[in-house]
Symmetry: C3
Subunit: 205 residues, 3 copies
Amino acid sequence: MEQLYFTVDILGTVAFAISGVLVAMEKRLDLFGVGIIALVTALGGGTLRDLLIGNLPVNWTTTLVYMYVILGSVMVAVVFQSRLKYLRTSLFLFDTIGIGLYTMVGIEKGMEAGLQPLICIALGTITASFGGVLRDILCNEIPVIFRKEIYATACILGGIGYFLLLKTPLPPAYAYLCGAGLVIGTRLLAVRYGIALPDIYRKRL
Amino acid sequence: MEQLYFTVDILGTVAFAISGVLVAMEKRLDLFGVGIIALVTALGGGTLRDLLIGNLPVNWTTTLVYMYVILGSVMVAVVFQSRLKYLRTSLFLFDTIGIGLYTMVGIEKGMEAGLQPLICIALGTITASFGGVLRDILCNEIPVIFRKEIYATACILGGIGYFLLLKTPLPPAYAYLCGAGLVIGTRLLAVRYGIALPDIYRKRL
Amino acid sequence: MEQLYFTVDILGTVAFAISGVLVAMEKRLDLFGVGIIALVTALGGGTLRDLLIGNLPVNWTTTLVYMYVILGSVMVAVVFQSRLKYLRTSLFLFDTIGIGLYTMVGIEKGMEAGLQPLICIALGTITASFGGVLRDILCNEIPVIFRKEIYATACILGGIGYFLLLKTPLPPAYAYLCGAGLVIGTRLLAVRYGIALPDIYRKRL
Protein backbone atom coordinates (compact mmCIF):
# COMPACT_ATOMS: atom_id res chain seq x y z
CA MET A 1 0.00 0.00 0.00
CA GLU A 2 2.71 2.43 1.07
CA GLN A 3 4.66 1.38 -1.98
CA LEU A 4 1.74 1.81 -4.35
CA TYR A 5 1.15 5.28 -2.91
CA PHE A 6 4.80 6.21 -3.41
CA THR A 7 4.87 4.85 -6.97
CA VAL A 8 1.81 6.82 -8.00
CA ASP A 9 3.13 9.96 -6.31
CA ILE A 10 6.35 9.72 -8.29
CA LEU A 11 4.44 9.05 -11.53
CA GLY A 12 2.36 12.16 -10.84
CA THR A 13 5.49 14.22 -10.25
CA VAL A 14 6.99 12.94 -13.50
CA ALA A 15 3.82 13.82 -15.39
CA PHE A 16 3.64 17.32 -13.92
CA ALA A 17 7.33 17.91 -14.66
CA ILE A 18 6.93 16.79 -18.26
CA SER A 19 3.84 18.94 -18.74
CA GLY A 20 6.03 21.84 -17.65
CA VAL A 21 8.73 20.86 -20.14
CA LEU A 22 6.18 20.70 -22.97
CA VAL A 23 4.79 24.19 -22.30
CA ALA A 24 8.26 25.69 -21.78
CA MET A 25 9.59 24.19 -25.02
CA GLU A 26 6.64 25.55 -26.95
CA LYS A 27 7.78 28.97 -25.74
CA ARG A 28 11.36 28.13 -26.87
CA LEU A 29 12.84 28.75 -23.41
CA ASP A 30 16.45 27.76 -22.85
CA LEU A 31 17.54 24.69 -20.88
CA PHE A 32 17.50 26.50 -17.54
CA GLY A 33 14.09 27.99 -18.22
CA VAL A 34 12.73 24.55 -19.13
CA GLY A 35 14.13 23.09 -15.91
CA ILE A 36 12.65 25.83 -13.75
CA ILE A 37 9.23 25.57 -15.36
CA ALA A 38 9.31 21.80 -14.75
CA LEU A 39 10.25 22.30 -11.08
CA VAL A 40 7.62 24.98 -10.57
CA THR A 41 4.89 22.90 -12.23
CA ALA A 42 5.65 19.87 -10.10
CA LEU A 43 6.38 21.62 -6.79
CA GLY A 44 4.33 24.84 -6.98
CA GLY A 45 1.05 23.51 -5.64
CA GLY A 46 2.53 21.84 -2.58
CA THR A 47 4.70 24.87 -1.92
CA LEU A 48 1.78 27.32 -1.82
CA ARG A 49 -0.19 24.93 0.40
CA ASP A 50 2.71 24.61 2.85
CA LEU A 51 3.17 28.39 2.90
CA LEU A 52 -0.51 29.04 3.60
CA ILE A 53 -0.69 26.64 6.53
CA GLY A 54 2.77 27.50 7.84
CA ASN A 55 4.28 24.07 7.20
CA LEU A 56 7.83 25.45 6.92
CA PRO A 57 10.44 24.83 5.63
CA VAL A 58 8.40 23.55 2.69
CA ASN A 59 8.50 19.87 1.94
CA TRP A 60 10.84 19.76 -1.08
CA THR A 61 13.63 21.54 0.80
CA THR A 62 13.97 18.54 3.09
CA THR A 63 13.03 15.57 0.85
CA LEU A 64 15.38 15.45 -2.12
CA VAL A 65 13.74 12.62 -4.04
CA TYR A 66 11.26 14.95 -5.78
CA MET A 67 14.03 17.19 -7.04
CA TYR A 68 15.98 14.24 -8.48
CA VAL A 69 12.88 12.81 -10.14
CA ILE A 70 12.01 16.16 -11.72
CA LEU A 71 15.52 16.90 -12.97
CA GLY A 72 15.75 13.37 -14.36
CA SER A 73 12.40 13.79 -16.11
CA VAL A 74 13.56 17.04 -17.69
CA MET A 75 16.67 15.41 -19.09
CA VAL A 76 14.75 12.46 -20.52
CA ALA A 77 12.05 14.73 -21.93
CA VAL A 78 14.55 17.05 -23.62
CA VAL A 79 16.54 14.17 -25.12
CA PHE A 80 13.45 12.37 -26.41
CA GLN A 81 11.52 15.51 -27.29
CA SER A 82 10.52 14.30 -30.73
CA ARG A 83 8.87 11.20 -29.29
CA LEU A 84 6.91 12.90 -26.53
CA LYS A 85 3.90 13.25 -28.77
CA TYR A 86 3.49 9.47 -28.91
CA LEU A 87 3.23 9.46 -25.13
CA ARG A 88 0.47 12.02 -25.00
CA THR A 89 -2.11 9.53 -23.72
CA SER A 90 0.17 8.05 -21.05
CA LEU A 91 1.14 11.53 -19.91
CA PHE A 92 -2.47 12.57 -19.63
CA LEU A 93 -3.13 9.47 -17.54
CA PHE A 94 -0.18 10.11 -15.20
CA ASP A 95 -1.21 13.74 -14.93
CA THR A 96 -4.76 12.79 -13.99
CA ILE A 97 -3.56 10.25 -11.45
CA GLY A 98 -1.22 12.89 -10.07
CA ILE A 99 -4.07 15.34 -9.66
CA GLY A 100 -6.15 12.77 -7.80
CA LEU A 101 -3.35 12.00 -5.45
CA TYR A 102 -2.12 15.55 -4.93
CA THR A 103 -5.68 16.58 -4.06
CA MET A 104 -5.86 13.98 -1.29
CA VAL A 105 -2.39 14.87 0.02
CA GLY A 106 -3.44 18.51 0.27
CA ILE A 107 -6.66 17.63 2.05
CA GLU A 108 -4.80 15.45 4.53
CA LYS A 109 -2.29 18.21 5.31
CA GLY A 110 -5.18 20.58 5.96
CA MET A 111 -6.79 18.06 8.33
CA GLU A 112 -3.49 17.58 10.16
CA ALA A 113 -3.42 21.36 10.67
CA GLY A 114 -6.90 21.12 12.20
CA LEU A 115 -8.66 23.07 9.45
CA GLN A 116 -12.31 22.79 8.39
CA PRO A 117 -13.45 20.62 5.45
CA LEU A 118 -14.15 23.55 3.11
CA ILE A 119 -10.62 24.87 3.65
CA CYS A 120 -9.11 21.38 3.33
CA ILE A 121 -10.81 20.97 -0.04
CA ALA A 122 -9.46 24.38 -1.10
CA LEU A 123 -5.96 23.30 -0.03
CA GLY A 124 -6.32 20.02 -1.94
CA THR A 125 -7.37 21.89 -5.06
CA ILE A 126 -4.47 24.32 -4.64
CA THR A 127 -2.02 21.43 -4.25
CA ALA A 128 -3.25 19.80 -7.45
CA SER A 129 -3.68 22.85 -9.62
CA PHE A 130 -1.44 25.72 -8.56
CA GLY A 131 1.70 24.26 -10.18
CA GLY A 132 -0.02 24.44 -13.55
CA VAL A 133 -1.20 27.97 -12.82
CA LEU A 134 2.35 29.10 -12.05
CA ARG A 135 3.63 27.32 -15.18
CA ASP A 136 1.18 29.28 -17.32
CA ILE A 137 1.87 32.62 -15.61
CA LEU A 138 5.63 32.21 -16.02
CA CYS A 139 5.04 31.43 -19.71
CA ASN A 140 2.86 34.55 -20.00
CA GLU A 141 -0.45 32.76 -20.62
CA ILE A 142 -3.79 33.02 -18.85
CA PRO A 143 -3.84 29.79 -16.80
CA VAL A 144 -5.46 27.03 -18.83
CA ILE A 145 -7.51 25.76 -15.89
CA PHE A 146 -9.37 29.08 -15.73
CA ARG A 147 -10.46 28.72 -19.30
CA LYS A 148 -11.53 25.38 -20.51
CA GLU A 149 -10.88 22.25 -18.60
CA ILE A 150 -12.75 20.34 -15.94
CA TYR A 151 -9.77 20.14 -13.66
CA ALA A 152 -10.16 21.97 -10.39
CA THR A 153 -13.82 21.01 -10.47
CA ALA A 154 -12.76 17.37 -10.36
CA CYS A 155 -10.59 18.11 -7.30
CA ILE A 156 -13.49 19.81 -5.55
CA LEU A 157 -15.89 16.94 -6.30
CA GLY A 158 -13.35 14.39 -5.07
CA GLY A 159 -12.83 16.37 -1.89
CA ILE A 160 -16.56 16.63 -1.20
CA GLY A 161 -16.95 12.90 -1.84
CA TYR A 162 -14.14 12.14 0.59
CA PHE A 163 -15.66 14.14 3.44
CA LEU A 164 -19.08 12.59 2.83
CA LEU A 165 -17.56 9.08 2.91
CA LEU A 166 -15.74 9.91 6.16
CA LYS A 167 -19.18 10.22 7.78
CA THR A 168 -20.04 6.63 6.77
CA PRO A 169 -18.72 3.52 8.54
CA LEU A 170 -16.25 3.04 5.65
CA PRO A 171 -12.62 2.87 6.89
CA PRO A 172 -10.78 6.18 6.27
CA ALA A 173 -8.24 4.52 3.96
CA TYR A 174 -11.05 3.50 1.60
CA ALA A 175 -12.60 6.96 1.72
CA TYR A 176 -9.18 8.30 0.79
CA LEU A 177 -8.88 6.01 -2.21
CA CYS A 178 -12.46 6.73 -3.28
CA GLY A 179 -11.77 10.47 -3.07
CA ALA A 180 -8.74 10.11 -5.33
CA GLY A 181 -10.74 7.83 -7.64
CA LEU A 182 -13.54 10.37 -7.86
CA VAL A 183 -11.10 13.09 -8.95
CA ILE A 184 -9.56 10.80 -11.56
CA GLY A 185 -12.89 9.43 -12.78
CA THR A 186 -14.48 12.86 -13.08
CA ARG A 187 -11.64 14.18 -15.15
CA LEU A 188 -11.43 11.13 -17.41
CA LEU A 189 -15.19 11.18 -18.04
CA ALA A 190 -15.20 14.93 -18.62
CA VAL A 191 -12.42 14.71 -21.19
CA ARG A 192 -13.84 11.57 -22.81
CA TYR A 193 -17.33 13.03 -23.23
CA GLY A 194 -16.35 16.66 -23.69
CA ILE A 195 -18.14 17.82 -20.56
CA ALA A 196 -17.35 21.42 -19.59
CA LEU A 197 -18.57 23.81 -16.94
CA PRO A 198 -21.86 25.47 -17.82
CA ASP A 199 -21.40 28.57 -19.94
CA ILE A 200 -22.01 31.57 -17.68
CA TYR A 201 -22.08 34.19 -20.39
CA ARG A 202 -25.28 35.55 -21.85
CA LYS A 203 -25.39 35.67 -25.56
CA ARG A 204 -24.91 39.23 -26.84
CA LEU A 205 -23.34 40.31 -23.55
CA MET B 1 -18.50 50.17 16.69
CA GLU B 2 -17.42 46.53 16.38
CA GLN B 3 -20.50 45.93 14.28
CA LEU B 4 -19.85 48.90 12.03
CA TYR B 5 -16.28 47.70 11.52
CA PHE B 6 -17.50 44.21 10.62
CA THR B 7 -20.15 45.52 8.23
CA VAL B 8 -17.68 47.69 6.36
CA ASP B 9 -15.14 44.87 6.24
CA ILE B 10 -17.72 42.58 4.65
CA LEU B 11 -18.79 45.30 2.18
CA GLY B 12 -15.15 45.75 1.21
CA THR B 13 -14.76 42.01 0.68
CA VAL B 14 -17.89 41.95 -1.48
CA ALA B 15 -16.61 44.87 -3.56
CA PHE B 16 -13.18 43.29 -4.06
CA ALA B 17 -14.78 39.94 -4.99
CA ILE B 18 -17.07 41.59 -7.54
CA SER B 19 -14.22 43.60 -9.03
CA GLY B 20 -12.52 40.23 -9.57
CA VAL B 21 -15.63 38.80 -11.22
CA LEU B 22 -15.85 41.79 -13.58
CA VAL B 23 -12.25 41.49 -14.77
CA ALA B 24 -12.48 37.69 -15.08
CA MET B 25 -15.68 37.86 -17.12
CA GLU B 26 -14.15 40.39 -19.47
CA LYS B 27 -11.53 37.72 -20.16
CA ARG B 28 -14.33 35.16 -20.69
CA LEU B 29 -12.97 32.77 -18.04
CA ASP B 30 -15.15 29.83 -17.06
CA LEU B 31 -17.11 29.65 -13.80
CA PHE B 32 -14.22 28.17 -11.84
CA GLY B 33 -11.81 30.78 -13.18
CA VAL B 34 -14.21 33.55 -12.23
CA GLY B 35 -14.53 32.14 -8.69
CA ILE B 36 -10.78 31.85 -8.23
CA ILE B 37 -10.12 35.37 -9.48
CA ALA B 38 -12.76 36.65 -7.04
CA LEU B 39 -11.16 34.76 -4.14
CA VAL B 40 -7.68 35.91 -5.06
CA THR B 41 -8.74 39.54 -5.44
CA ALA B 42 -10.45 39.60 -2.05
CA LEU B 43 -7.97 37.47 -0.08
CA GLY B 44 -4.66 38.05 -1.88
CA GLY B 45 -3.54 41.17 -0.03
CA GLY B 46 -4.14 39.80 3.45
CA THR B 47 -2.52 36.51 2.46
CA LEU B 48 0.73 38.09 1.30
CA ARG B 49 0.82 40.27 4.43
CA ASP B 50 0.34 37.26 6.71
CA LEU B 51 3.03 35.32 4.83
CA LEU B 52 5.55 38.16 5.10
CA ILE B 53 5.12 38.58 8.85
CA GLY B 54 4.78 34.86 9.54
CA ASN B 55 1.17 35.05 10.72
CA LEU B 56 0.44 31.41 9.77
CA PRO B 57 -1.82 29.65 8.98
CA VAL B 58 -3.17 32.66 7.10
CA ASN B 59 -6.37 34.21 8.32
CA TRP B 60 -8.88 32.88 5.77
CA THR B 61 -7.97 29.25 6.47
CA THR B 62 -9.39 29.61 9.98
CA THR B 63 -12.23 32.15 9.56
CA LEU B 64 -14.75 30.82 7.06
CA VAL B 65 -17.01 33.86 6.83
CA TYR B 66 -14.87 35.54 4.15
CA MET B 67 -15.01 32.48 1.93
CA TYR B 68 -18.81 32.28 2.19
CA VAL B 69 -19.20 35.98 1.49
CA ILE B 70 -16.96 35.79 -1.57
CA LEU B 71 -18.57 32.67 -3.03
CA GLY B 72 -22.00 34.21 -2.44
CA SER B 73 -20.93 37.43 -4.17
CA VAL B 74 -19.67 35.47 -7.17
CA MET B 75 -23.00 33.69 -7.55
CA VAL B 76 -25.00 36.90 -7.29
CA ALA B 77 -22.64 38.72 -9.66
CA VAL B 78 -22.80 35.97 -12.29
CA VAL B 79 -26.59 35.71 -12.13
CA PHE B 80 -27.11 39.47 -12.32
CA GLN B 81 -24.21 40.13 -14.68
CA SER B 82 -26.22 42.30 -17.04
CA ARG B 83 -27.18 44.66 -14.22
CA LEU B 84 -23.73 45.09 -12.70
CA LYS B 85 -23.08 48.15 -14.81
CA TYR B 86 -25.83 50.04 -13.02
CA LEU B 87 -24.02 49.42 -9.74
CA ARG B 88 -20.71 50.82 -10.92
CA THR B 89 -20.88 53.79 -8.54
CA SER B 90 -21.87 51.73 -5.49
CA LEU B 91 -19.14 49.21 -6.28
CA PHE B 92 -16.55 51.96 -6.55
CA LEU B 93 -17.68 53.26 -3.17
CA PHE B 94 -17.50 49.84 -1.50
CA ASP B 95 -14.12 49.25 -3.10
CA THR B 96 -12.78 52.55 -1.80
CA ILE B 97 -14.14 51.90 1.69
CA GLY B 98 -12.59 48.45 1.52
CA ILE B 99 -9.21 49.91 0.64
CA GLY B 100 -9.37 52.33 3.56
CA LEU B 101 -10.21 49.59 5.98
CA TYR B 102 -7.83 46.97 4.61
CA THR B 103 -5.01 49.52 4.85
CA MET B 104 -5.67 50.07 8.54
CA VAL B 105 -6.01 46.33 9.23
CA GLY B 106 -2.63 45.75 7.59
CA ILE B 107 -1.00 48.53 9.58
CA GLU B 108 -2.41 47.16 12.82
CA LYS B 109 -1.12 43.66 12.09
CA GLY B 110 2.32 45.12 11.45
CA MET B 111 2.21 46.99 14.75
CA GLU B 112 1.14 43.82 16.59
CA ALA B 113 4.22 42.14 15.09
CA GLY B 114 6.34 44.97 16.54
CA LEU B 115 7.40 46.38 13.18
CA GLN B 116 8.42 49.98 12.40
CA PRO B 117 5.94 52.56 10.98
CA LEU B 118 7.46 52.56 7.46
CA ILE B 119 7.06 48.77 7.26
CA CYS B 120 3.57 48.90 8.77
CA ILE B 121 2.52 51.37 6.06
CA ALA B 122 4.02 49.06 3.43
CA LEU B 123 2.05 46.14 4.90
CA GLY B 124 -1.14 48.22 4.92
CA THR B 125 -0.63 49.13 1.29
CA ILE B 126 0.08 45.49 0.40
CA THR B 127 -3.10 44.39 2.20
CA ALA B 128 -5.19 46.88 0.28
CA SER B 129 -3.65 46.56 -3.15
CA PHE B 130 -2.03 43.18 -3.69
CA GLY B 131 -5.31 41.36 -4.35
CA GLY B 132 -5.89 43.60 -7.35
CA VAL B 133 -2.32 43.06 -8.51
CA LEU B 134 -2.75 39.28 -8.41
CA ARG B 135 -6.10 39.58 -10.21
CA ASP B 136 -4.45 41.48 -13.05
CA ILE B 137 -1.44 39.14 -13.27
CA LEU B 138 -3.69 36.06 -13.42
CA CYS B 139 -5.66 37.76 -16.20
CA ASN B 140 -2.40 38.52 -18.03
CA GLU B 141 -2.52 42.32 -17.66
CA ILE B 142 0.00 44.77 -16.27
CA PRO B 143 -1.51 45.60 -12.85
CA VAL B 144 -3.78 48.63 -13.20
CA ILE B 145 -2.46 50.26 -10.02
CA PHE B 146 1.01 50.55 -11.57
CA ARG B 147 -0.37 52.50 -14.47
CA LYS B 148 -2.95 55.07 -13.81
CA GLU B 149 -4.80 55.31 -10.56
CA ILE B 150 -4.22 57.09 -7.30
CA TYR B 151 -4.71 53.99 -5.23
CA ALA B 152 -1.66 52.85 -3.34
CA THR B 153 -0.73 56.50 -2.91
CA ALA B 154 -3.96 56.98 -0.97
CA CYS B 155 -3.03 54.03 1.29
CA ILE B 156 0.40 55.51 1.93
CA LEU B 157 -1.00 58.96 2.75
CA GLY B 158 -3.58 57.43 5.10
CA GLY B 159 -0.87 55.43 6.83
CA ILE B 160 1.35 58.47 7.30
CA GLY B 161 -1.61 60.44 8.65
CA TYR B 162 -2.39 57.69 11.13
CA PHE B 163 1.12 57.56 12.56
CA LEU B 164 1.25 61.36 12.83
CA LEU B 165 -2.08 61.39 14.69
CA LEU B 166 -0.85 58.68 17.06
CA LYS B 167 1.72 61.23 18.30
CA THR B 168 -1.07 63.66 19.26
CA PRO B 169 -3.27 63.30 22.37
CA LEU B 170 -6.08 62.01 20.12
CA PRO B 171 -7.34 58.57 21.26
CA PRO B 172 -5.93 55.76 19.04
CA ALA B 173 -9.42 54.72 17.90
CA TYR B 174 -9.96 58.17 16.37
CA ALA B 175 -6.55 58.14 14.73
CA TYR B 176 -7.53 54.77 13.25
CA LEU B 177 -10.77 56.14 11.81
CA CYS B 178 -9.03 59.28 10.53
CA GLY B 179 -6.42 57.12 8.82
CA ALA B 180 -9.10 55.10 7.05
CA GLY B 181 -10.96 58.35 6.22
CA LEU B 182 -7.82 59.86 4.75
CA VAL B 183 -7.35 56.87 2.41
CA ILE B 184 -10.99 57.03 1.33
CA GLY B 185 -11.06 60.81 0.99
CA THR B 186 -7.83 60.94 -1.01
CA ARG B 187 -9.08 58.36 -3.47
CA LEU B 188 -12.51 59.94 -3.88
CA LEU B 189 -11.03 63.39 -4.43
CA ALA B 190 -8.40 62.06 -6.83
CA VAL B 191 -11.02 60.30 -8.95
CA ARG B 192 -13.49 63.20 -8.74
CA TYR B 193 -10.95 65.81 -9.85
CA GLY B 194 -8.84 63.60 -12.10
CA ILE B 195 -5.71 63.96 -9.98
CA ALA B 196 -2.90 61.61 -10.98
CA LEU B 197 0.68 61.11 -9.93
CA PRO B 198 3.08 63.59 -11.55
CA ASP B 199 4.30 62.42 -14.96
CA ILE B 200 7.88 61.23 -14.53
CA TYR B 201 8.70 60.90 -18.21
CA ARG B 202 10.58 63.54 -20.14
CA LYS B 203 9.07 64.45 -23.41
CA ARG B 204 11.01 62.95 -26.32
CA LEU B 205 12.60 60.39 -24.01
CA MET C 1 35.97 42.72 5.65
CA GLU C 2 32.54 43.28 7.23
CA GLN C 3 32.55 46.73 5.73
CA LEU C 4 33.51 45.50 2.27
CA TYR C 5 30.74 42.93 2.45
CA PHE C 6 28.21 45.59 3.44
CA THR C 7 29.34 47.99 0.71
CA VAL C 8 29.03 45.36 -2.00
CA ASP C 9 25.64 44.25 -0.67
CA ILE C 10 24.35 47.82 -0.89
CA LEU C 11 25.83 48.27 -4.39
CA GLY C 12 24.05 45.07 -5.46
CA THR C 13 20.75 46.33 -4.01
CA VAL C 14 21.18 49.63 -5.84
CA ALA C 15 21.88 47.82 -9.11
CA PHE C 16 18.86 45.52 -8.74
CA ALA C 17 16.62 48.48 -7.86
CA ILE C 18 17.80 50.46 -10.88
CA SER C 19 17.34 47.48 -13.19
CA GLY C 20 13.75 47.44 -11.95
CA VAL C 21 13.36 51.16 -12.65
CA LEU C 22 14.67 50.71 -16.20
CA VAL C 23 12.24 47.90 -17.07
CA ALA C 24 9.31 49.71 -15.41
CA MET C 25 10.02 52.96 -17.26
CA GLU C 26 10.17 51.15 -20.58
CA LYS C 27 6.61 50.04 -19.82
CA ARG C 28 5.71 53.67 -18.98
CA LEU C 29 4.47 52.82 -15.48
CA ASP C 30 3.67 55.69 -13.13
CA LEU C 31 5.89 56.75 -10.23
CA PHE C 32 4.30 54.31 -7.80
CA GLY C 33 4.57 51.44 -10.25
CA VAL C 34 8.23 52.23 -10.85
CA GLY C 35 8.89 52.25 -7.09
CA ILE C 36 7.13 48.93 -6.54
CA ILE C 37 8.95 47.23 -9.41
CA ALA C 38 12.26 48.49 -7.96
CA LEU C 39 11.38 47.15 -4.48
CA VAL C 40 10.23 43.81 -5.86
CA THR C 41 13.33 43.40 -8.03
CA ALA C 42 15.68 44.10 -5.14
CA LEU C 43 13.79 42.29 -2.37
CA GLY C 44 11.89 39.53 -4.21
CA GLY C 45 14.59 36.87 -4.21
CA GLY C 46 15.39 37.12 -0.51
CA THR C 47 11.69 37.23 0.31
CA LEU C 48 10.87 33.98 -1.50
CA ARG C 49 13.89 32.31 0.09
CA ASP C 50 12.84 33.40 3.59
CA LEU C 51 9.28 32.23 2.95
CA LEU C 52 10.40 28.80 1.74
CA ILE C 53 12.61 28.12 4.75
CA GLY C 54 10.25 29.77 7.24
CA ASN C 55 12.60 32.61 8.17
CA LEU C 56 9.71 34.91 9.20
CA PRO C 57 9.07 37.81 9.42
CA VAL C 58 11.15 38.25 6.27
CA ASN C 59 14.36 40.18 6.54
CA TRP C 60 13.37 43.54 5.00
CA THR C 61 10.51 44.02 7.46
CA THR C 62 13.00 44.31 10.30
CA THR C 63 16.06 45.91 8.64
CA LEU C 64 15.08 49.27 7.17
CA VAL C 65 18.36 50.12 5.43
CA TYR C 66 17.44 48.17 2.26
CA MET C 67 14.17 50.04 1.90
CA TYR C 68 15.87 53.44 2.23
CA VAL C 69 18.57 52.47 -0.25
CA ILE C 70 16.00 51.27 -2.79
CA LEU C 71 13.72 54.29 -2.48
CA GLY C 72 16.74 56.59 -2.75
CA SER C 73 17.93 54.75 -5.86
CA VAL C 74 14.50 55.13 -7.46
CA MET C 75 14.51 58.87 -6.89
CA VAL C 76 18.00 59.30 -8.28
CA ALA C 77 17.24 57.05 -11.25
CA VAL C 78 14.04 58.90 -12.13
CA VAL C 79 15.67 62.32 -11.84
CA PHE C 80 18.70 61.33 -13.91
CA GLN C 81 16.80 59.04 -16.28
CA SER C 82 18.33 60.52 -19.43
CA ARG C 83 21.86 59.77 -18.19
CA LEU C 84 21.26 56.18 -17.09
CA LYS C 85 22.33 54.88 -20.47
CA TYR C 86 25.87 56.13 -19.88
CA LEU C 87 26.01 54.03 -16.74
CA ARG C 88 25.02 50.81 -18.47
CA THR C 89 28.43 49.20 -17.92
CA SER C 90 28.69 50.20 -14.25
CA LEU C 91 25.15 48.97 -13.65
CA PHE C 92 25.90 45.64 -15.28
CA LEU C 93 28.95 45.31 -13.04
CA PHE C 94 27.01 46.13 -9.85
CA ASP C 95 24.29 43.75 -10.94
CA THR C 96 26.76 40.95 -11.50
CA ILE C 97 28.48 41.58 -8.17
CA GLY C 98 25.03 41.62 -6.55
CA ILE C 99 24.19 38.24 -8.06
CA GLY C 100 27.43 36.73 -6.78
CA LEU C 101 26.82 38.01 -3.30
CA TYR C 102 23.11 37.27 -3.15
CA THR C 103 23.84 33.70 -4.24
CA MET C 104 26.23 33.19 -1.33
CA VAL C 105 23.84 34.84 1.16
CA GLY C 106 21.10 32.45 0.04
CA ILE C 107 23.36 29.42 0.34
CA GLU C 108 24.44 30.46 3.83
CA LYS C 109 20.82 30.90 4.98
CA GLY C 110 20.07 27.40 3.68
CA MET C 111 23.03 25.97 5.58
CA GLU C 112 21.95 27.75 8.77
CA ALA C 113 18.56 26.05 8.34
CA GLY C 114 20.38 22.70 8.15
CA LEU C 115 19.46 21.97 4.53
CA GLN C 116 21.37 19.82 2.04
CA PRO C 117 23.83 21.32 -0.50
CA LEU C 118 21.55 20.80 -3.53
CA ILE C 119 18.77 22.72 -1.77
CA CYS C 120 21.16 25.42 -0.55
CA ILE C 121 22.30 25.99 -4.14
CA ALA C 122 18.67 26.20 -5.23
CA LEU C 123 18.01 28.76 -2.48
CA GLY C 124 21.09 30.77 -3.51
CA THR C 125 19.91 30.79 -7.12
CA ILE C 126 16.42 31.84 -6.03
CA THR C 127 17.84 34.67 -3.92
CA ALA C 128 19.86 35.99 -6.84
CA SER C 129 17.35 35.55 -9.63
CA PHE C 130 13.77 35.60 -8.38
CA GLY C 131 13.61 39.37 -8.02
CA GLY C 132 14.25 39.71 -11.74
CA VAL C 133 11.66 37.02 -12.47
CA LEU C 134 9.01 38.89 -10.47
CA ARG C 135 9.99 42.16 -12.18
CA ASP C 136 9.39 40.61 -15.59
CA ILE C 137 6.12 38.93 -14.59
CA LEU C 138 4.74 42.17 -13.15
CA CYS C 139 5.69 43.90 -16.41
CA ASN C 140 3.95 41.14 -18.38
CA GLU C 141 7.06 39.65 -19.98
CA ILE C 142 8.41 36.10 -20.03
CA PRO C 143 11.28 36.32 -17.53
CA VAL C 144 14.48 37.20 -19.35
CA ILE C 145 16.56 34.64 -17.45
CA PHE C 146 14.48 31.81 -18.92
CA ARG C 147 15.31 32.93 -22.40
CA LYS C 148 18.76 34.05 -23.14
CA GLU C 149 21.24 34.83 -20.46
CA ILE C 150 23.78 32.82 -18.55
CA TYR C 151 22.57 34.00 -15.19
CA ALA C 152 21.14 31.31 -12.99
CA THR C 153 23.69 28.93 -14.47
CA ALA C 154 26.42 31.16 -13.04
CA CYS C 155 24.76 30.97 -9.61
CA ILE C 156 24.59 27.19 -9.79
CA LEU C 157 28.24 26.87 -10.85
CA GLY C 158 29.33 29.20 -8.04
CA GLY C 159 27.33 27.20 -5.53
CA ILE C 160 28.82 23.91 -6.68
CA GLY C 161 32.31 25.42 -6.52
CA TYR C 162 31.67 26.64 -2.99
CA PHE C 163 30.60 23.24 -1.69
CA LEU C 164 33.56 21.53 -3.37
CA LEU C 165 35.97 24.04 -1.79
CA LEU C 166 34.39 23.47 1.63
CA LYS C 167 35.71 19.89 1.41
CA THR C 168 39.29 21.17 1.00
CA PRO C 169 41.42 22.53 3.86
CA LEU C 170 40.71 26.07 2.58
CA PRO C 171 39.18 28.29 5.32
CA PRO C 172 35.39 28.68 4.82
CA ALA C 173 35.71 32.46 4.38
CA TYR C 174 37.90 31.93 1.31
CA ALA C 175 35.56 29.30 -0.09
CA TYR C 176 32.79 31.85 0.33
CA LEU C 177 34.67 34.52 -1.58
CA CYS C 178 35.71 32.04 -4.29
CA GLY C 179 32.06 30.98 -4.68
CA ALA C 180 30.97 34.57 -5.18
CA GLY C 181 33.92 35.13 -7.52
CA LEU C 182 32.97 32.08 -9.57
CA VAL C 183 29.44 33.41 -10.06
CA ILE C 184 30.74 36.83 -11.06
CA GLY C 185 33.52 35.45 -13.29
CA THR C 186 31.21 33.01 -15.08
CA ARG C 187 28.72 35.71 -15.90
CA LEU C 188 31.34 38.24 -17.04
CA LEU C 189 33.03 35.67 -19.28
CA ALA C 190 29.71 34.45 -20.67
CA VAL C 191 28.62 37.96 -21.59
CA ARG C 192 32.07 38.95 -22.91
CA TYR C 193 32.39 35.91 -25.18
CA GLY C 194 28.73 35.45 -25.97
CA ILE C 195 28.50 32.03 -24.36
CA ALA C 196 24.95 30.71 -24.02
CA LEU C 197 23.38 27.50 -22.85
CA PRO C 198 23.43 24.76 -25.48
CA ASP C 199 20.45 24.95 -27.84
CA ILE C 200 18.09 22.14 -26.87
CA TYR C 201 15.80 22.45 -29.86
CA ARG C 202 16.06 20.18 -32.86
CA LYS C 203 15.99 21.92 -36.15
CA ARG C 204 12.64 21.43 -37.88
CA LEU C 205 10.96 20.56 -34.58
